[in-house]
């Protein structure tokens, strides 16, 4: 919105809603909706959270790998090239936390909760990561 500016939190929500409606309307008029059924309603868009950078109903900016073709090696999870899947020690975390492609790491939920506790910065401390025997 260019002519009025959201000031309080509710206004920001109204603005996000309106922007969503506008995008839906634009997509509908251009017939671009991916599922071919016409524009998504604002409610539909709320469900698309995996791609968002600014909350569930903000602009849809893809982060990380693509959903359809795997894997998106060309850019890193921030859209640049500094954090590509190199070096391997950094990948260890990137592939099991930031990427849809699950790296095989110990079960941090149940059996090895403190597996990474000695590894504050992967690139420096990766040697401190130990094997885990269930």
């Amino acid at each position: 919105m260019r002519r009025i500016k959201a000031v309080n939190q509710k206004a920001a929500r109204v603005e996000r809603y309106v922007e969503g409606e506008r995008r839906s309307a634009a997509a509908a008029s251009e017939g671009e909706h991916p599922d071919g059924t016409g524009a998504a309603s604002a409610e539909d868009e709320l469900d698309v959270v995996g791609l968002e950078s600014s909350g569930p109903d903000g602009p849809q900016i893809p982060f990380g790998c693509t959903l359809i073709f795997s894997p998106g090696w060309e850019t890193d999870s921030g859209g640049g090239t500094a954090g590509l899947c190199q070096p391997v020690e950094r990948d260890l975390f990137d592939c099991h936390l930031g990427c849809f492609w699950p790296a095989q790491v110990p079960d941090q939920l149940n059996n090895a909760g403190d597996w990474t506790s000695k590894c504050a910065a992967a690139q420096k401390d990766w040697r401190k990561l130990d094997l885990v025997f269930p």
């Binding site: 260019r2 002519r3 500016k5 959201a6 000031v7 309080n8 939190q9 509710k10 206004a11 109204v14």
Partner: protein
Amino acid sequence: MSARLAPREYHAFEAEGLRFLYLVPSAAVFCADDAASAVLDRLEDVGPDTVEGLESGLSDTLPPAEVRAAVVDLYEVRAIGPEDAGPEPMPVEAPPDGIPLKTMVLNVTSKCNLGCTYCYEYGDDKLVEAGTMPRFMDEETARQSVDFMLAEAGVGERCHLTFFGGETLLNFKLLQSTLAYARERAEAEGKRVDFSLTTNGTLLKPDVIEWLAENEVGVTVSIDGPREVQDELRVFNNGKGSYDEVVPRVRELLQRHTSRPVGARVTLTKQNLDVIGAFRHLTEDIGFWEVGFAPVTTAEGRDYAIEGEALDRMLEQFEELAWEWLEYAVQGRHHGFSNVSESIEEIHKGFSKSHPCGAGVGMLGVSTDGNLGLCHRFAGSEEHRFGSVTDGVDREKQVQFLEEHHVAYKPDCHTCWARPLCAGGCYHEAHTRYGTTKAPNLHYCEWIRSWTDICLRVYGALAVRNPGFLNHFEH
């Protein structure tokens, strides 16, 4: 958009030379630029018009594309709409089932060692006849109340237990055992309970103060201001003023109890309308962290009732303190006028209320015999009973109450732009004044609108001058 457009429901206000809109009923606050302001001015002054009409009417000062963009923005947030759009329909949503109990107010005694003339519990406008309630809550009822609260608080929730009276500290023994019991039970259930109490300050002995501090109990002291004011209406039963009893104890409390902020609550009456004097005395001379003011609840015509031009005097002083609050906030400093900080928080979050307060929703009062009341002010009133701590909440009555008291059923509120924040005002005030909780507080409408406008202007100014301060209200 070839239909004629007209303003819809909003309240426009200015701050720092900018034009702001408070939209009703969404409670969104937008800042309009010159083009949007010009569109609104024209629709307000000249009357409904089409987009093309607006473009040509404003062509001297604005390019048509800018006018059109402004119209689109204003239309989409529903600040303007088709001339025949009519008012926004008011949704009446049934309250959700099993509303978790967030706050329980426990009336641990109905006895008081003061005899304040204006008291809603004992004064001319009392709801419950003296002698119909046990004077003190017993151990078993208190424990049952805690069990009830924890059961109703929802899974993994934090809840708040407030001790109230009468004079709360007359039942200090029960406070000690109940707090310990609630802590123990909450811990066992993985919940967290915060504690607070309200007191008149006369019984703040060293061991009480020590206990309050050690247990991080939030304290609100009912106190009206300097000696001459306090001693006018806040008196012992023999008529003796309470200032000299209260203030030295409060000073001790403030010195020792630093784990939670200690606040003062002032009851304003016709005899006590020096808001600024009371504020200065309580914050600067005595040292309270914050001070909240509320006009006395009373039927019409009582000799302490604030009416007519006295309401204007109250508003003028509130306004002076509100602007002072702003200057503090601009510098990132704390200012203890809690009436304004509470309003600013609700404006910032954009509250649009279906009911004026949490009474009967997430807050209930418990009388000394364990009956549940709409809130602490109704505890003990048979008419406003919502079940008991042993039998649980009377869901049918609760749902019926919430439905009947929805702002949608208060026609007087339907044309008021302040309804998202006010929603009709205090049930107890309404009951005292009009004999029914369903009536809006019509005697305060003008006052509430003026005060809301002041708070909106303060909010707008703060959003321009120090928006970072609003982060205090994010959560």
